[in-house]
Structures are given as C-alpha cells and as structure tokens.
C-alpha cells in the first residue's frame, strides 16, 4: 500500500446540478452506474440518492415510510443529527476522516419510520466523473425499531477515469427488531483510491446484513467496517466477494463485536487474486455470553497475485463460541475433472467452480442485479484462466 497524497486531488468546484430524470444521464455514465446496481428507470426501487463528484444530482423517496435526504439537508433539518452524526466513526481517526469532516460534499441520509417494512431497495450511487476529483461523503442510515430496509449502493467512476479519490464515512443504526440489508457494489478503475470508514450499532433483536462486491480493478482500497451488537439477540453477517486483477491493492475486512447475550456474528469472504493483492481481514470479538461467531475467509490465486488472510478471534469471557476457517489455494483438479466427466470442457468446469466459490446467491439480491454481477464475473474471468 502506498501513501495517498490527498493534495493531488481536487476537493472542490465540481458540481453538476439537479438531474430530475435519471434517464437523461450521459449514456456512458449510465452504463457504469448500471454495473454497480443502479436502475435508472427507478422501477422496483423505494428511492434514489445519486451524487456526482461534489454534489447531489438526484434525491427522491418513492415509498411511504422511508425518508431519503442529502446529508446536508438532514443536518439542517435535525439540528446536526445529535446522537448519530460522527458517533460510530472517529472524526480524528486519520487524514481521510478529517478530510470528510472538514469539507463535506454530500452523502445520503436514509431513515425508516418505526415499523415500516420497505419492500423495494433504496438505491444510491456515489459517482466520480471528473479527473483527479476527490470526493468526501458522509452517509447515515437509521432503521427504526421493527422496520426493514435494503439499500443497494454502487460506487463508480466515469469510464476512462485517470484518477479519483473516494473518501466515504458511513454510520448505521439498526433499531430493536429492525433489519438492514446493505449491499455495496464497487465499480472503480485502476487509478482510483478508496477509503471508506464505516461503523454501526445494532440494538436488541436487530439484524444487519452487509454484502460487498468488488470485481473491477481498483488502485488502492482500504475498508474495514466495524459493527457492534449491543442489544440482546442482535445478529450481523458480512458477505464479501472480492476479485483483485493485476494492479489492484485491496485491504478489506470486517469487524463484529458481540457485546450482548445471544448475539451472533458471521463473516464470510471469498477472494480471488488474479494478479493483484488482497489482504482479507476479519475480526470477531466475544464480550458477552452466550454468543457465537464464525469467520470464514477463503481465497483462490488464479493467475498470480497475493492473498493474505488475517482472521482474528478474541474471546473475553467464559462460554463464548468463536470459530474460523481460512484457506488460500487453487481450484482442486478433482473438482474440475468431476465436472468434465459430466461433459463440461475445462473452461466451463473452471468457470462453474469459480462462480460457486464466489457464491453471490448467498446475498439474496434482486435478479437483475445478480445478472449484472454474473456478467461482470464472466468478464473478469479472462484474467483468471
């Protein structure tokens, strides 16, 4: 990992203005956004937040029970969001959090009403269009008691981007018996540097499911969301699918603290290095009983690269149950031959095994998004074998 010189990026002056109809977006940008799960028709979506470079271009809720605002509006409307804003991430953690604190460009604020089950996903996209743009965003998601929400957020850069930096703060609040599914699809370029800083808290009986997909090249990404399960019976699960082609450096992990009785945490990551470097981290801390945690990081090296798996468990009480399973290796010849004996040629067999390995099915995504991901996987297979 190289040191990032934030001074090389432009952190002001690029705003596009409102785009009321997403279909009017530049076709090339639209194609990039589609790859990260954005539906420009806004069909089957409960709402949209779209930001390009330094400002919001589209923000709309399409379903009762969910409020979607530009974070700046939300701060004005709710007196600076006390008890929420900068409570899950330390403002002084590093130069990236400080940059986001000092010069906020935008980000989304999404809040459900108590008891509201939002059936369609809310979509968001934080897009980097200009060259050498630095983007500071801060997102706050509040899922009130007994409500349910799915957010699909894509982060993307314009085709042919020569360089960009994305610094994003995200804070999650999952209420009592509430459920948040947060699916993030990263679609960067080989010149993009990315520093998300994420934290969240889950109350009694709440469920937080985090899906993360990174299939495209990225210059340098470091991400380590931390979730605290503070209420009895709270559950968190992280599913990650990461591919690092040549030139990519990805340091990605997740952290779960089991702070209350009957909490459960699970971290499952699947990584493929096809020339790039992946540091796959995971941490589960058992600080209360009974509590269970399981960590699974599996990596394949296909066509060069490095995978460094760092699974960590920390039990701090009698009776915690924590386990992990880590593997870095290759596709078993035995599996390829088994499928070949069913009539698949070597390429088909390998591709079938890789798709099974990446196991996007586990995320329970809408079909059209799954199709987009499948397509991206088959494109990136060219680098793998």
């Amino acid at each position: 990992m190289e040191k990032i010189n934030l001074g090389a990026f432009r952190f002001s002056g690029s705003t596009l203005g409102e785009i009321p109809d997403l279909r009017q977006l530049d076709p090339a940008d639209k194609a990039e956004m589609l790859m990260s799960g954005v539906d420009v028709e806004e069909r089957d979506r409960a709402g949209t937040y779209l930001q390009v470079d330094h400002g919001r271009v589209h923000c709309k809720s399409l379903q009762k029970g969910v409020e979607i605002l530009d974070i700046k509006e939300a701060l004005a409307k709710y007196d600076g969001l006390p008890g929420y804003f900068w409570t899950q991430v330390d403002k002084d953690k590093d130069e990236f959090t400080r940059s986001a604190a000092e010069n906020l460009h935008g980000g989304y604020f999404v809040r459900t009403e108590k008891g509201a089950k939002i059936t369609e996903p809310v979509q968001s996209c934080l897009f980097l269009k200009g060259d050498m743009i630095g983007q500071n965003v801060h997102n706050v998601v509040i899922v009130e008691d007994d409500s349910e929400l799915h957010i699909i957020t894509g982060c993307s850069v314009a085709h042919g981007s020569k360089g960009a930096a994305h610094l994003g703060i995200s804070e999650f609040f999952v209420g009592k018996n509430a459920k948040l599914t947060f699916t993030m699809i990263h679609n960067w370029a080989d010149s993009t540097v990315v520093r998300p800083r994420t934290g969240g808290v889950v109350d009694e009986g709440g469920v937080f499911i985090n899906n993360y997909v990174l299939l495209k090249p990225v210059k340098d990404l470091q991400s380590y969301p931390a979730i605290r399960l503070n209420g009895r019976g709270a559950v968190a699960r992280f599913n990650s699918v990461i591919v690092a082609p040549k030139g990519s450096y990805v340091d990605s992990g997740s952290r779960i603290e089991l702070n209350a009785p009957d909490t459960r945490g699970e971290i499952i990551s699947r990584t493929i290095a096809s020339g790039g470097t992946i540091v796959a981290r995971g941490f589960i801390g058992g600080n209360s009983v009974p509590a269970k945690g399981h960590l699974e990081c599996k990596g394949l090296i296909l066509g060069g690269g490095v995978i460094h798996a760092i699974p960590e468990l920390r039990g701090a009480m009698d009776g915690v149950e924590l386990s992990h399973e880590a593997a870095v290796g290759k596709i078993a010849q035995e599996e390829i031959e088994y499928l070949m004996a069913r009539g698949l040629d070597e390429g088909e067999a390998t591709s079938t095994i890789v798709r099974g390995f990446l196991n996007v099915d586990i995320m329970g995504l809408p079909q059209e998004l799954k199709d987009v991901i499948e397509k991206t996987i088959s494109e990136s297979e060219k680098d793998m074998f």
């Binding site: 499928l339 070949m340 004996a341 069913r342 009539g343 798709r355 099974g356």
Partner: protein, 253 residues
Amino acid sequence: MLRIENLHVKIGDREVLSGINLHITENETFILFGPNGSGKTTLLMTLMGFGNYEITKGRILFRGQDITHASIYERARLGIGMSFQRPPTIHGLKTRHLVKMCARDGEVDVEALARKVNMDTFLDRDINAGFSGGEIKRSELLQLMAQKPYMLLFDEPESGVDLENMKLIGSTVRDVLSGGIDPKSGSSMKEQRVRKRPVSGLIITHTGYILEYVNADRGQVLYNGHLCCEANPRDILDHIGQYGYQECVRCLQ
C-alpha cells in the same frame, strides 16, 4: 460398444493394469470383481480419461472411435458416464444446476428426475456437501439420468448404502441400464429393444448386492492388473464367497 485392447496403465512409476482385453457389446452389462488394490478403479478412471492414469500401451475404442487419448469431456459427450465413489463437494454449485448442465443442450425435467431417486429436497443444496453414502449414490444416478450415456461405469454402487437405499439405487441402476424403458403390454420385448437407445454397463462390485437388481450378462475377476476367470457373475460371486481370491492366484500362475 466398448473395446479395450492390450491396455497397460501406469500410476506414477507403477504399472497397475497389464494387458487388459475386454469387449462389452451393446446392451450388455459386465461385472468386474477383484480384491482391493487389484486395479478395478484404475480401469474405470482410465476409461473416463482421468489425468493421473497414464496409458503406456494398447487402446480403447468406444462405439468404433479410438478414444485412447481423448479428454474427459470428449468421452462424456460421446456417451460415457461414470458414477463416482467419492465425488468432491463443490461449494456454491447447486445440485439442480449441475443436473441441468449434465443434460447439455437437451431438455430435462430436473424435478421429475429428482423425485425418481428421492432427491427433490436436495436440489437447492450444494452438490455433495454433507451427503451421506446413499445420498451420494442417488445424486450420481440423478446426474447420469440427465446425462443419458450409452456406456455406464459404476464404481461400487452399493458401498456405504443402507438396505432401504439399496433397493431404490439397485432398481434405478437397472432402469438407467435399460435405457429407461419399462416392460409394458402392447409391445413385445423384441420391439422395445429395437427402438431403445443402446446402453451398456460396467460395474465394479465387492458384495454382489447389485446383482439382485441388474441383469448382469458376464463377469470377470481383475487380479493384480490382469483379467481372468470369465463366467456368469453369480457363479464368480459364489466362488469368491467360498474360496476368496486365492483360487485366482493359482489360476493366474
């Protein structure tokens, strides 16, 4: 259907098969006996074309075509199908998806086939993940039913299977070997035989339980890489049951 001529096979530096000659005709089911380590599984794996089995001499002809050096998938597409004894688990690959792929471009009613072998509740599970002995056999049969091969290779269809499963597996093996045709009135056996797809079988067995279910035409003992003692499979089984394989040793000397 299948003709093996003077086949010599090495695994690493060790010759495991030494001059095998075997001809299996259309619609014939052949039973292979032999003690552990005699080369039975090696013969099946070589017929399927697996990597670790090096053919040093001889050739394999399948339906008139020389497949001695064909790849695994070419053999599968030509119509050789194999039931694995210990198939690998492939995580994230649903049984349903694999069965569909076995049919290649052909139409296949996965649900209906799965019901036949009592596997309908397994279709959304990862293939072979946590399957019991009987479940593995049923899953292998399900895949073969979709694949519809002309030549079926079974490696110990009865191993690790309880009695209840044995009945279902035995009758399904019989069904697959008959090309999926049940006896019915209104058409004679002869007429049915003419219309049906030719299917032959090569079955490895230790216990002989499978003989209760399939019409086995011929059998032979494989001992130390050599085939010997061609006879009716039941007679071979009775003989081995009584005297073990020591008579084969004497015979080969």
